[in-house]
């Protein structure tokens, strides 16, 4: 009985650590995907401004940096 409890205890410890890392990993993946989306949006805005006046172009270059 004690051995069973010990094994159960260890199984739940594994669940706990897995859950903690899974939540953190999920958030990091979300951040990476959001970053990629922002890059795409920035490219789109850059294209929008390709024909824009000089002062606006400078602002875009600044934001890309």
């Amino acid at each position: 009985m004690e051995g069973f409890m010990e094994a159960r205890n260890l199984t739940f410890l594994f669940y706990g650590f897995t859950a903690a890392w899974a939540i953190l990993l999920f958030y990091v993946i979300t951040l990476a995907r959001r970053g990629a989306q922002l890059k795409k949006d920035l490219e789109q805005v850059k294209r929008l401004f390709q024909t824009a006046p000089e002062e606006h172009r400078e602002r875009i270059e600044e934001s890309v940096r």
Binding site: E6, N9, L10, F17, G35, F49
Partner: protein, 228 residues
């Protein structure tokens, strides 16, 4: 520069976490009463502390925004709250898994647990509110007010184990009890893991803040393009 700092902090956190995991599983013995499951505490409580610290920093930033109307304070508060929410979720999920073994239930409507759940719901509402409002100053004003309101609950979460009779264990760290509740060897690993999670949190906030600034810039450029 900010990216490099974030990478350096994440690297330091990864090294520290690896060292802490080695200590937790290969050096420290099982806790006498709870057995191996006690090790969840090394993530459960530091995650709560990182989350709460984040909410209090966001509170200061929200007050700064309301008194100065500078949107950078609001952007930083939003980034910090998002990261803090992740740590609060880690706290509540790991706590529930620990409770299943020690209390025999996944959940109980104890003051500590309930106030933490309310805290998560308030700050989830904060993020939803921000998604729902397009106008930046209105969004910043309302979300700052909600952050201040949410921090009242954070104080209740923090102090609930002293104010009320709970199923949740009372304070065990020597800085709150004066010692005698937790073995110093356990406490050392606890603090090292707190530092590691804090570094993870700071690096995530740096990345998130940069994204927030880029999003704001894209938004203003789009407005400029439409105004042309």
């Amino acid at each position: 520069m900010r990216d490099r700092i974030a990478i350096a902090l994440a690297g330091a956190a990864a090294g520290l976490l690896a060292w802490n995991l080695y200590k937790m599983f290969l050096v420290l013995p099982d806790e006498a009463m709870q057995g191996p499951i006690f090790r969840i505490l090394f993530f459960h409580a530091p995650a709560a502390m990182v989350g709460m610290t984040g909410y209090f920093v966001a509170l200061v930033l929200s007050i700064l925004y309301l008194s100065s109307n500078q949107l950078r304070f609001d952007a930083l508060a939003a980034s910090i709250i998002e990261v803090s929410l992740v740590f609060s979720l880690i706290n509540i999920v790991t706590g529930s898994i620990w409770a299943r073994i020690i209390w025999g239930v996944w959940w109980t409507w104890d003051y500590r647990l309930t106030s933490q759940l309310v805290c998560i719901l308030i700050f989830a509402a904060y993020l939803m509110l921000r998604r729902g409002i397009d106008e930046p100053t209105q969004r910043a004003r309302l979300s700052s007010a909600l952050c201040i309101f949410g921090c009242i609950d954070v104080v209740i979460v923090w102090k609930s184990i002293e104010w009320f009779r709970n199923l949740h264990p009372g304070p065990v760290l020597s800085i709150r009890t004066g010692g005698g509740h937790m073995d110093p060897a356990y406490e050392r690993v606890f603090y090292w893991n707190l530092l590691a999670l804090l570094l993870v949190g700071i690096s995530l906030v740096l990345i998130r803040t940069r994204q927030e600034a880029t999003a704001r810039e894209i938004d203003s450029l789009r407005r400029l393009a439409h105004a042309q």
